[in-house]
Structures are given as C-alpha cells and as structure tokens.
C-alpha cells in the first residue's frame, strides 16, 4: 500500500514551492490583475506599464478582436461591435438592463441571459467577459513566467446567483482555475485592513462603473467578518455619465443622435464628469457626424444637482446594511472608499455627512479590489507565511427561497447568513398517490415570487405513491464559499431515495461551456493544455478501472436505472479518454465520480455489515 502525502492545513505539501496565483478585478469600466510578489501585492501592467485595462471588446469585421486600450477608438467608429460595460449584462435578461434605449447594440431577446448580435455572430456576455479575462490571464502568465495555479475573481457583493454563475463561467471559459469568487468590498477590506492592521467595525462604500455595494465588516485579530451587505447592481459611475448625457440632449437642441454620435456624446460626458472632480466648470463642446455642434458649459453645481437623486440612491443600501447589522452610523470606525466613482466630491461629501466622519481615501480606489483579491489568491494556494493568518467570513447578499402556494416565496436561507451555509426544509405531497413534485428556486427579499429572481425550476420524480401528506420531501439548500447555490431534494420517509441535484440554470449549462471551451481551445493548443490533458487521461483510466471492479463485485446494489446511468457515463468517459479535450474529459470524470458517490456509500455499508454478520457484540 502506498503512503499518502499528507499536508498540514494552511501549508502546501512542498513548502518551498511558490505557486503562482492571481487576483482579478473584472470591472464594469476597467479590469485589473494583481499578484503577491515577495509578500507584497502588486498590480501587473501591460508593456506600456499600464495597470488598468479598459473593459472594452471590439469584434472586428472580417475576424479577430481588439481589447482594452486597443479597442478604445472603435467605440465611436464601430459602436455596434464594440462592447463596453458588459458586466451590466452578466446573468441578466433584456428586461433587467437599464438605459437600454441609449445603447448601440443589437440585442437578441431570448429567454434567460441576453445576447448581443455582432459582426462575428451572436455573443453572450459570458463570452465577451471571457475575452477580457483571457487577456488578463495572458498578461499574468507573461509577467510571472509560469503556469498559474489559480485565480480569485471578484464580483460585486450584491451580485445574485445568476450573475455569480455567469462570472464563474466566463473565467472557466478563459481557461482560469477559479479558486474563489470574492466579493469586491471584502477584497478591498482585506487590502485596507492588512495594510493598516485595523480592528473594529468598518463600512466599505464601493461605487464602481456599473454597480454599488455597501458592506459592513468587523475586523478582529485577523478575521474579516462581514456583518451585512447591501447594494444595487445597476447603479454606478455609468449612470452619472448617462444623466449628463441626457442633460446635454435636453439642452443642446440636436436631433436624436446616431449610434456613433451617441457613443461620442457618452464618452464626452464621462470626460466632463471626471474634469468636474477637479474644476468648477467645464465646457462641453463636440462636433457631431450629423454636422450639428454641441457647445455648452457644465458647472459643478449643475452636475451635482442633476445627479443628486443618484447620490441619494446610494444611501438606501447604506441604511439597510446598517439596520441588518443592528448598528448606527456612529458605530462605524471608518468608511473605506472603493471604485473610481467615489472620487466625485459630492459622493464623498454625502458619505462624510451620513457617517459623521471623513471617508478613508488613502488607497487607490481603482486598484484596491484587485490587490485584495491577489492576497486572497495567494493564501488559497497555500503560499501564506507562518505568521500571516487571516480569514474571511463572508455572507450571502440576498435571501434564497422556494415558491409556495399562492406565488409566495418561502425563505430557506436568509440574507447575510455566513458562508458556507446549508438549510433543509421539509415538504409533503398534497394529493394521494402523488409521485412527483416541482420546485421553483428564487432569490430576493420580496414576498411575491414574481418580484424575486427566478434561479431554477426542477422536478423530483419517483416519489413512492402514498396518501397525501405522508411523504417527507427534504429539500436542502447549500451555498458554498463562492456564494453559489446548489439544491438537492429527496424523499425520506420510506428510505426510497429519489434524489436530485440542481445548479441554478440561469447561466450556461456545463455542456454549453464545454462546447465553448472546445472552440476556444482550437486556437490555443499549447503545452499547458497537453499536460493537463495527460493528467486527466491518467485520472480517467484510474476511475474507469475502479468502477469496473466495483460493478463486478457489487453491481447488484444498483437498480436498473442507476446501473444504466452509470454505464452510460462510463461509456462516455471511455469515448472521451483518448480524445484531446481536457475540459470535456474533466467534466466526464466529475460526472462519473458524482454518479457513483451513493454506490460507494452503499458498498461501504455492505462491507461493514458483512464484517459484523455472524459476530456478537462481545466478539467485536
């Protein structure tokens, strides 16, 4: 029997080997990648020394894409095929997106997540985001000179399950091993707290390009405990630009602009907004393609006035988060400002007034999230040093529930529960002989299901026929440290196990991802993939061998349906093993492992009872 290598928790098996891990801030306006070098978190830059990469993707006519700074010019010359602020579309349907009328894109109104029609065909927000992530991955690999062990990707704390799934899918599609999805304000708190050795209760006010989060954290001896979080996933710097853009349309007396002119006006609006941070008034001058001319002057006072409702809107989540944490503004020791939009003076003033203290702005609000993510990534791969122990205890932002009679949501996991968390709820049948039950999983605080986000619908079949109210259906919700939900249901009263696992389906299915990966790998084909593939092939052989032996020995423990399911998965894996698609193979291995889990348990039980049969207690 071979000895197993056992590593102490918190230490890697090979303590001197530094593993390469990165943190990625996938932002609405800009994205960044950071890593920990010699114990210090640093942002990685491009060849020109720039840390920020504009979150812009241009699909070129005739093939090929341009990204980041290279795609900036195409925003005006080719607005339909140049996607900005794609984060606002992640995990979202058409109806969820604000200001859609001012966007130059051609949307496809399909159920579920929206898609954009580009010159290179239909693209989902996941695919577009994956292009950005891939570019950051390549930057990191070039800069670190090696294979990445994994990445922490940040998401707004108030992202729901669909938006999180979509982000995770995009990272997988970009060939990243996702160590953790980390909430942006929590990442910022880590960077801030570890830098300043802070203790006490802090608020993180994170106003990005397209999202707003407010998290309340308690920092005690290396533990970052999120007490509550709230936010608005469609409120950000973009909305301030949009207000100014609308103001210009109202005041400049021009015809409704073309897509190109609209983009031009929006970009000018952003530039003017940024200038107003430092100056009292700024000219808004632009010659449009239509031949019309815009010549206005925007004063700081006018800009503050027109965007005051937006500033006010940030205070709603602040109040709610404080109430959930049972705290008042006085209890907050410091307010950490994150996100480029917090540079606006009237935001800073509103925060200062509400909390009765000047906010903390000593960290670069653009970089702090990526730096915190890098620190977390470094810790997760086991690189942390002896005296460098800290822990994040994060929460789920929105309650999870099931639809009950009358279209009401019954909350199973309340918002702000510390992760990971699992909750079970029992249901019963309401008709005699009922053999199936359907469930509808929703997320949100509202009472009516119609006002919550629908995450998944699934059916539990194979309930043994019984009188109404006798069957006991146990539904278990589990939310992991990424804030991602899985649901399982089983009938418990008869010992007959009808069990099902669902992943909310609003994102992509595993098959879709595998398909996308296949097509993206066609362009890659490098050594890394080859090695990963070989490892997967060895694992597949091992698993197939183990399954064959187990089925030969204890195959009768399975009923026909179970046996057929396992046989099908074995056949599929056999088929995949000689191929060269590491991801499909890995999916195949995972599927077979999952499917044989309960078989393994039953074998174990049989082995135990065989060992016990024929012996009395004294003998044992």
């Amino acid at each position: 029997m071979s000895l197993l290598q056992i590593a102490e928790p918190g230490q890697s098996a090979a303590p001197h080997k530094h593993r390469l891990a990165i943190g990625i801030d996938l932002g609405t306006t800009n994205s960044l990648v950071a890593t920990v070098r010699n114990g210090i978190a640093v942002c990685l830059t491009d060849e020109q020394g720039r840390a920020l990469m504009p979150s812009v993707v241009h699909y070129r006519d005739g093939g090929g894409i341009e990204l980041g700074f290279d795609a900036m010019n195409a925003r005006v010359s080719d607005p339909r095929n140049t996607i900005v602020s794609v984060k606002r579309f992640m995990g979202r349907g058409l109806a969820d997106v604000t200001h859609i009328e001012a966007m130059p894109y051609v949307f496809e109104g399909i159920p579920g997540m929206l898609r954009l029609r580009t010159v290179q065909g239909s693209k989902s927000p996941v695919e577009i985001s994956a292009e950005l992530l891939r570019a950051l991955r390549e930057r990191a690999e070039a800069s670190l000179g090696g294979e990445l062990t994994g990445a922490v990707v940040t998401v707004p704390a108030y992202f729901d399950d669909a938006q999180r799934q979509a982000t995770r899918d995009a990272a997988r599609l970009a060939g990243l091993h996702v160590l953790r999805l980390l909430n942006e304000p929590t990442a910022a708190a880590v960077a801030y707290g570890l830098d300043n050795a802070s203790e006490g209760v802090y608020a993180v006010f994170d106003l990005g390009g397209g999202t707003f989060d407010l998290s309340i954290l308690k920092l005690t001896r290396g533990v970052f405990e999120v007490l509550s979080t709230n936010g608005d996933t469609s409120l950000g710097g973009d909305d301030f630009d949009h207000r100014l853009y609308c103001w210009v349309l109202d005041n400049a007396r021009i015809a409704p602009p073309s897509a190109e002119d609209a983009r031009r006006l929006q970009m000018a609006a952003r530039a003017v907004k940024e200038l107003l941070t430092v100056s009292e008034e700024t000219p808004f001058r632009l010659r449009l393609d239509s031949g019309e001319e815009v010549d206005l002057t925007v004063t700081r006072a006018a800009f503050f006035e027109m965007t005051r409702p937006l500033v006010q809107k940030t205070l709603t989540p602040v109040k709610r988060a404080l109430r959930d944490a049972r705290l008042s503004p006085r209890d907050i020791k410091g307010v950490v400002m994150v996100g480029g939009a917090t540079r606006m003076p009237h935001i800073q003033r509103a925060v200062a007034e509400y909390f009765g203290q000047e906010p903390l702005t000593n960290l670069d609000p653009d970089k702090v999230v990526a730096l915190g993510a890098a620190m977390q990534a470094n810790a997760l791969v086991g690189n942390r040093r002896e005296n460098d122990h800290w822990l994040l205890l994060d929460v789920i932002p929105l309650s999870l529930g099931l639809e009950t009679m009358g279209g009401l949501s019954e909350k199973i996991i309340p918002r702000n529960a510390t992760l990971p968390v699992a909750r079970a709820q029992e249901f019963t049948t309401f008709k005699d002989g009922q053999t199936a039950m359907s469930f509808h999983v929703v997320q949100g605080e509202r009472e009516l299901v119609a006002d919550c986000r629908s995450l998944a619908r699934f059916e539990l079949r194979g309930i043994p026929p019984m009188a109404a109210g006798v069957a006991r259906i146990r539904v278990i919700f589990q939310v992991d440290a990424d804030g991602l939900l899985s649901v399982s249901a089983r009938e418990t009263s008869t010992g007959v196990e009808a069990s099902i696992h669902v992943k909310p389906s609003y994102g992509l299915t595993d098959d879709e991802i595998a398909g996308m990966l296949r097509s993206s790998l066609e362009h890659a084909g490098d050594d890394l993939t080859a090695r990963a593939l070989r490892e997967q092939q060895v694992e597949a052989e091992r698993l197939l061998e183990a399954c064959t032996q187990a089925l030969a020995a204890d195959g009768e423990l399975l009923d026909e349906a179970e046996r057929a399911a396992i046989d099908a998965l074995i056949a599929r894996l056999r088929q995949l093993a000689p191929g060269n698609d590491a991801t499909a193979l890995s999916d195949g291995i995972a599927a077979l492992s999952r499917a044989t889990e309960s078989f393994a348990t039953r074998r174990m039980n049989r082995a135990l009872s065989t060992a016990l049969t024929g012996h009395n207690i004294d003998e044992l």
Binding site: P9, T316, K319, R323, L393, A417, T418, D480
Partner: protein, 177 residues
C-alpha cells in the same frame, strides 16, 4: 483539525450548556473553529479533504447561528431537554398576550401606512426594551427554575416579538428610498 460533529452546539464551542451566553467567548470560539474548517483554509488540498472540511464548516456555522440568537438558543435548549419542536411551536397563546399582539400589529400597520419613519423607529426601540425583559425572564426559567413548560411559553412570546421586529424592519426598509 477535525471537529467532532457528534457534539452538541455548546460543547462544540466549549461553552457551558445554558441560556446565558458569553457572546465574546462564542465569537472567539467560532472564529477559532472557522480558522480550521473554512473552505478557504482547504482550497489547496485534494477535493475529498475539501468536502469533509465543508461539512464541518456548515455544521459550525449552523451551530453559531443557533446559539447567537436568543430565540433559537432557547429553542435548542428545550430540544436538548427532550421537548419536540412541535410541542414548542404549539400555539396556545395566553389571552393577555393575544391582546398585546393585536395592539402591536395595529401600531406597526398604522405607522407603515402613514409612512411614519419616526413612529416605526420608536416602536422598534420599545420592542427592543420589551424583548430584553422577555430574554431576562427566559434566562431565569431556563437556567435557574428549570421550568421547561413556562420557558416554552416565553419562547413562543419571544418568537412573536422577533417576527414583529422583522415586520418593523421590513416596513422601515420599504421607506428607505
């Protein structure tokens, strides 16, 4: 590193099995256990080790939530003492409480309809004071008198006040905008 999952919640955190709680001690013990079991501390280990740790982390969080709140802690103590959850839930409300409940509900409803934040906040404060009194009473019944029946009554009352608190919170949240 492994945690004995067969322990009751109090023993899990090394706390005495009683209603009165040293919250700081609970928080510390929770943090210490999480440092060993949280998925983040196992992310670099093989998948089966991660899964085992996940089970422990889930149980520890469940235990923490249960003990942290007075209502759930009291319920848990009653269950440990052998009372069934159904018996605890059984809704026999004393008439004097029934009247009290109606009064509270009407007051909240009225303030809500009038969009009256100040009144709602005053109600929340009054409720908080009343709940503190009920919790003190409960502590006596559970820790000294060991009168489970009386304690179950008080737990039901506290459950009602808790629900009311949630109602006030929701009313206030609706008026935040």
């Amino acid at each position: 590193m492994s945690v004995d999952l067969s322990l009751d919640y109090f023993s899990l955190f090394g706390l005495p099995c009683r209603f009165r709680l040293d919250e700081t001690a609970l928080d510390r013990a929770w943090h210490a256990l999480q440092t060993e079991t949280h998925p983040d501390c196992h992310a670099h280990l093989p998948e089966n080790a991660q899964r085992a740790a996940m089970q422990e982390a889930l149980r520890i969080n469940e235990a923490y939530i249960t003990l942290k709140k007075s209502v759930t802690r009291a319920r848990y103590l009653l269950e440990l003492a052998g009372m069934s959850p159904d018996a605890i839930n059984e809704n026999v409300v004393a008439p004097e409480y029934l009247f009290e409940q109606l009064e509270w509900r009407e007051a909240v409803q009225e303030a809500r309809e009038a969009n009256d934040v100040d009144t709602l906040e005053q109600l929340a404060l009054r409720l908080q004071i009343q709940m503190a009194g009920v919790v003190t009473q409960l502590a006596g019944q559970l820790d000294e008198q060991r009168d489970l029946e009386a304690a179950a009554d008080t737990v039901r009352r506290l459950m009602f006040l808790d629900k009311l608190r949630l109602g006030i919170d929701n009313a206030l949240a609706a008026l935040d905008d």
